[in-house]
Amino acid sequence: MEWVNTVVQGVLLGGLYAMFATGLSLMFGIMRLVNIAHGDFIILGAYLGLVVVTTLGLSPLLSLIIVLPVMFMIGYVLQRVLLNRTLGTDILPPLLVTFGLSIILQNILLEVFSADTQKLPAGELGLSSITVTGDLSIGVLPLITFLVSVAVIGGLQFLFYRTELGRAFRATSDDQETVRLMGVGNSHIFGLAMAIAMAVVAVAGIFLALKTNFDPTIGPARLLYGFEAVIIGGLGSLWGTLVGGIILGVAQAIGAQIDPGWQILAGHLVFLIILIFRPRGLFPRSVD
């Protein structure tokens, strides 16, 4: 029973990791952009949530009504004004620019919000749980996080494979030159892709802030799991990213059950093993 509990907690945690990873997966899948500042944008989303919650008195989940569109706009403008200029055959400029963004974001947040550690009030939601049996209880908040994560990925999947915009995304991802010949504007498509990625980042930020503390400098620590989940799942595959997150979460939970010192290491080891045997991840979509 102890092991069942371990695996269940790991799966739930995997939902959060998958949410961290989805934005990265989108950016890389469509624009071949590796966003080093991804973790910091998650924290930015968390702080925006904090501002909305404290000034308007909304509940943290409702704050998404405001935070989500704001992050969407930030994403679009950022891509059009800055990131589009860095994209090209060379992979280095976007890396450097987003690395710079990471440092700038951290320091702006530090300047505005001070170094104090913050958290969004989860209230009863954060503490309550559903008891299945004596040894197995499922926290309500982790469960909601997991379900939202599945819903977000399902929604994106629909957008990508069932809509015209999705077709434009996929086409741009496959062959930029030809898409331009067909009269689709790259810059605008990229802007929209980044905007959608940032909207997902906003959701991830709010759920992170409900779960634990955040401060201006904590973002990069959240980046690594995101990268790992993306790579385990296979580049460009959204469901793969969810599977990647879950594999990572379960590996950590099982590692911890053996010995707490193995928790993080177990996740990294599974990542390495998959990298060795399936270098392109479990469900790679793009062929390049």
Binding site: E2, L13, T117, L127, S137, L141, G249, A256, Q263
Partner: protein
């Protein structure tokens, strides 16, 4: 400027050009006075230039450790105001310059700025505070470069042993004042003994400097707990910034632990505590080091932070006052709240005391510009500061002076969202108790 001072100026210039100070002293010997007079003729403006007393201060103003340095600018403002007329040594008054550097919470950066302060600013005394990640690299630089240094806000063991100090041989130039691991252990166990429990203790120790020290089988909690009849459940070291504690929780629940202790960072404790509530682990007492230091961390727990306990090294109710400004602990804390709108934090007292010591020491220096003289003055220190008496004569090792430690609980419903109330003073009976120890709701 008298001859003596001028000599030291010369020495320092030589030092820059690569000749070691000791070697130069040996070489120059008796010729030295003559040489100084000759060079004096050529550099007339040097006579007119006022000698300035320089303090270097390193703290983590940005980065993850920044909450420790949050009160720095408030404290420095007060100190600078107090020192605007300079420090008087003997009959002469010298202007004071405090050069502040940010470690960015990074040990490498801390070492770098310390070396800048030593080599280009030529500080007379180095001051450094807040966590071994800051105090250790700065102290090491001072030890190598033979500059006196006072550090604080890090338990003395990780400052002393990690830097290679042993019981018989200490350091020449670097000195520390704070409490130690033995004080936390006795404060915590004394808090636990004041309530009735089954004496089973759940230990949450991460794989970092503090966690390894607290969880150490020989020098940590384990031997003392054994002796006092407690049973420690320690599932093992975990990596900080963990998102899932179900393994630890199942071990603690199985052992039916009623006491929780550990030394964890705030995000880890929040994750643990929410998950503990979700999975039904409800200890009667939770005493946590580091993670419950700052009010913002406790506030982030919502209502679930009530009656969590931690160690208290300084509070507005400590019956001490500043030797420099005369302010009491309470005045210092309320002054901070008035000027920033924020609740007091424990580092305030210690950073203030650091400058109290610096001023007291410089006033007693017999030859300004001579590091040996500063060090001798430091060793003779016996000062009642806002954090208690500081003297390096009766420490556990020669470089360490101990300050008192008590225990407290965070309570809802006071002046701030959470107030830290002192509930155990066995380690320092002169510090008044605010309320009796209570069990968690």
């Amino acid at each position: 400027m008298n001859d003596k001072n001028k000599n030291h100026e010369t020495i320092r210039q030589q030092e820059k050009s690569g000749v070691s100070r000791r070697g130069f002293l040996k070489l120059s010997g008796g010729l030295f006075a003559g040489a100084a007079i000759v060079s004096g003729f050529g550099a007339a403006p040097a006579f007119a230039r006022q000698r300035t007393i320089k303090f270097g201060y390193v703290s983590p103003q940005t980065g993850p450790l920044a909450p420790f340095a949050e009160a720095d600018s408030y404290i420095l403002k007060g100190i600078r105001e107090k020192l605007k007329n300079g420090i008087t040594i003997g009959s002469r008054t010298y202007p004071v310059e405090i050069i502040v550097k940010d470690s960015q919470s990074n040990p490498n950066r801390a070492a770098e700025v310390a070396s800048e302060l030593i080599l280009s600013d030529e500080v007379d005394l180095m001051l450094v505070s807040s966590t071994p990640e800051t105090t250790n690299p700065v102290s090491d630089q001072c030890e190598i470069n033979e500059v006196p240094c006072i550090s604080t806000v890090a338990p003395w063991q990780p400052w002393y042993f990690t830097r290679g100090g042993d019981m018989s041989n200490g350091f020449q130039w670097t000195y520390h004042f704070f409490w130690g691991l033995e004080d936390v252990i006795s404060t915590y166990t004394s808090m636990w003994e004041s309530l009735s429990t089954n004496k089973v203790v759940a230990g949450l120790f991460p794989n970092d400097g503090d966690g390894n020290a607290w969880g150490d089988k020989e020098r940590g909690f384990a031997p003392v707990l054994d002796k006092k009849g407690f049973r420690l459940v320690d599932p093992g070291r975990f990596q900080a910034m963990t998102d899932d504690f179900s393994a630890q929780l199942s071990a603690f629940k199985q052992a039916e632990a009623e006491i929780l202790t550990g030394v964890v960072i705030p995000p880890d404790f929040t994750t643990f505590w929410s998950q503990a509530k979700q999975q039904g682990f409800r200890p009667k007492i939770a005493s946590i080091g580091k993670g419950l230091l700052f009010p913002s961390a406790v506030e982030s727990l919502g209502e679930a932070g009530h009656n969590l306990s931690t160690e208290v090294w300084w509070s507005p109710t400590h019956p001490f006052s500043s030797s420099l400004t005369g302010e009491s602990s309470l005045e210092l804390a309320t002054g901070f709240t008035r000027s920033t709108g924020k609740q007091w934090t424990q580092p305030i007292g210690f950073v203030h005391a650091l400058f109290e010591l610096a001023v007291d020491i410089m006033q007693r220096v017999e030859a300004l510009g001579e590091p040996d003289a500063v060090r001798d003055a430091l060793l003779a220190t016996d000062l009642d500061t806002v954090v208690g008496n500081v003297s390096w004569k009766n420490g556990p090792v020669k470089n360490v002076a101990k300050t008192p430690l008590v225990g407290g609980q965070w309570r809802l419903g006071g002046d701030f969202t959470y107030d830290l109330v002192i509930t155990n003073n066995e380690g320092a009976p002169n510090i008044p108790i605010g309320s009796d120890m209570q069990t968690l709701g």
